[in-house]
Symmetry: C2
DNA sequence: TTGAAAGCGTTACCAA
DNA sequence: TTGGTAACGCTTTCAA
């Protein structure tokens, strides 16, 4: 039904190669002939080489796969993730490469594995996917390049990595808080427990957390607390159902409404931290006075809300991930990049309220 | 280098077809043989049929292209867009189909056309793309199914459409506002003018707006104003640089800071409307009292902020778009769906301040 | 239940 | 500058 390269070649009495060249290597034939070919193609309704056939022949697809766990909506709810993706798109676009979204639904592991095995891509970017271990084997079997922003330790030598010092950055926030004299501290994170609920959680040892980013960020806080002479067991751990503002608010309520109210809440993402601010606003509590709050990521809303947070170069992270993927260096040292972070102090943090140290 | 189906076949002394069947049609061979084949494949590092080759042979790619204009980041800044995409993903995932993001950069039209011509997809979804007309020809030339949520009129009979009554819905919001006695009314939208700036704009005839959604939503407001005996020339038109909260706030400033302050601002998206609320908060103005504000879309933040808005079923819209694309009905009547909308009244609207009708 | 053969639509190489 | 030929890796009849 649809016209092929052959159709056009026949119509003009030239060979397939020539028509192919008209599209893919314009310098290989006379401009006049090329124009005639393109013209005839237009008349015949031939819209250029079939992308799939071209990919097969060339051995390059022109797309990279982006893996998510959880729903797409959930992934894009976090501005950090969106910025990262934007950076990734910048890099790939420049190389005429598209982005294929591969959502890995947790309730259908077989489907997820099939999706990975059957995705027509030149490489994978693993992102927003704390529990991608099951997928790893499938991906590696395809011997395609993979870049990740997580699990640098477990990633294996073949994997490309662009990351930040999660633990160190988080510790900076912790030090900022203990430096202000806070002693009734809470940390707020998602998926700290397998139960999906908003509220306090017992977490004897944060090093045992299975998900890399959670583990590192929470341990960073612990390190700061312990270094200041505090004890991890005094830190209240709050779990949010999902990484959303609403769940952040709901979880924070448990720290705000208890008799001995926490004077500082350190959230592991800005989205959660903004939820904390929502919960405080609803109670008439002043950020940086009654309760101090920190986030992580430095999304645009953080600035608007005066949130003290850890800045990470989200867009650049995506861009570098894309460049690494499309142009993987041989040198192992160049296959892993660690990007800088910084503490941005805004109005949501301040000295611990007087008399709160008891 | 990488193992192929042939490699596995040779290793076992069976034919290619049999190995192929082991993967694609398990019922065509004995379980024992199948297991042996899969086992050998694993040993040989063969990770299953090459997706591209399979696509070529089958004539189906297993991906649909999603077109954006503007940057990805910008597109995903609007929760409406994210919800729509989530719905689309739901539908495609169920059919083992991926989503290929195709960002069409405005400053590189040639690159954009190439991206469209070369995208390996089974269909296209056009979305968040007010000015996609240039792409239309390229897409149509490929004779692939296309679904759009915009431009139902210009779309052509072949195009699948899932839309809402933009003008009617917007008119509802307008009627709500004039019903409250407001007469100093402003409308706030993006890209009303080619100049990319925040502020008032002269717009003698909204019917002349080139972008469908802008035109329809603004005309809806005009209809309501005129029906109530008002005049379009009394309506202040504000342009926001981009569809962001910050630009919404900046543009709204012009309506809030003028001598005869607008008593009602109707934004064409919730994101812009939330920006208006930000600008009001900064000035100590009370929504629904000093100034009434409406939005459009009913994103989650709208509820949180008490924003009166038009609800549209964003996720369902995406889901239906996906289903239409993957299973296009022959019957022309079924190829176009119009989804319902409703006015959600919250606290951001109220009676016009006393004495404001002058 | 298994195998042989014929493409799917293109590009790359080499020769003319 | 142009054309012939041989893949790219797979699926799908159809026959055994």
């Amino acid at each position: 039904m649809s016209a092929t390269l052959q159709t056009v070649a026949d119509a003009l009495g030239v060979s397939r190669s020539t028509v192919s060249n008209a599209y893919s290597r314009p310098d290989q034939l006379s401009p006049a002939l090329r124009e005639r070919i393109l013209e005839t193609a237009r008349e015949l309704g031939y819209s250029g080489p079939n992308p799939t056939a071209r990919s097969l022949r060339r051995g390059r697809v022109g797309a990279v796969g982006v893996l998510f766990t959880g729903s797409l909506t959930q992934a894009f709810t976090d501005p950090y993730a969106v910025q990262f993706l934007g950076g990734l798109a910048q890099a790939t676009e420049r190389r005429d490469t598209g982005l294929l979204l591969v959502p890995l639904s947790a309730d259908d592991p077989d489907g997820a594995q099939r999706a990975l095995a059957e995705a027509a891509v030149d490489g994978f970017c693993v992102y927003c996917a704390p529990n991608w271990q099951g997928s790893l084997a499938v991906i590696n079997a395809r011997s395609l390049p993979v870049v990740t922003t997580e699990n640098p330790t477990e990633a294996g030598a073949a994997t490309l990595v662009v990351s930040i010092d999660e633990r160190g950055a988080s510790r900076t926030a912790g030090e900022h808080i203990v430096g202000f004299g806070h002693r009734r501290i809470a940390v707020l994170d998602t998926w700290v427990t397998t139960e999906r609920r908003n509220g306090p959680v017992r977490l004897p040892d944060p090093e045992s957390l299975p998900f890399y980013i959670s583990r590192e960020r929470i341990c960073g806080v612990r390190d700061a607390v312990v270094a200041a002479g505090g004890s991890w067991s005094d830190v209240l751990v709050l779990n949010a159902r999902d990484n959303t503002r609403a769940d952040g608010a709901a979880a924070a309520a448990h720290a705000l409404d208890r008799a001995q109210r926490s004077t500082a809440i350190l959230a592991t993402t800005d989205v959660l931290a903004l939820g904390v601010l929502d919960a405080m606003a609803a109670r008439g509590l002043r950020p940086g006075h009654d309760v101090s709050v920190t986030g992580f990521d430095d999304i645009p809303d953080a600035d608007r809300s005066g949130l003290t947070t850890i800045h990470q170069p989200s867009t650049e992270k995506g861009r570098i991930a894309g460049e690494l993927l499309l142009d993987a260096p041989e040198d192992p040292a160049l296959r892993r990049k660690v990007l800088p972070t910084s503490l941005i102090v805004r109005s949501s943090t301040g000295p611990a309220p007087v008399g709160s140290s008891s």
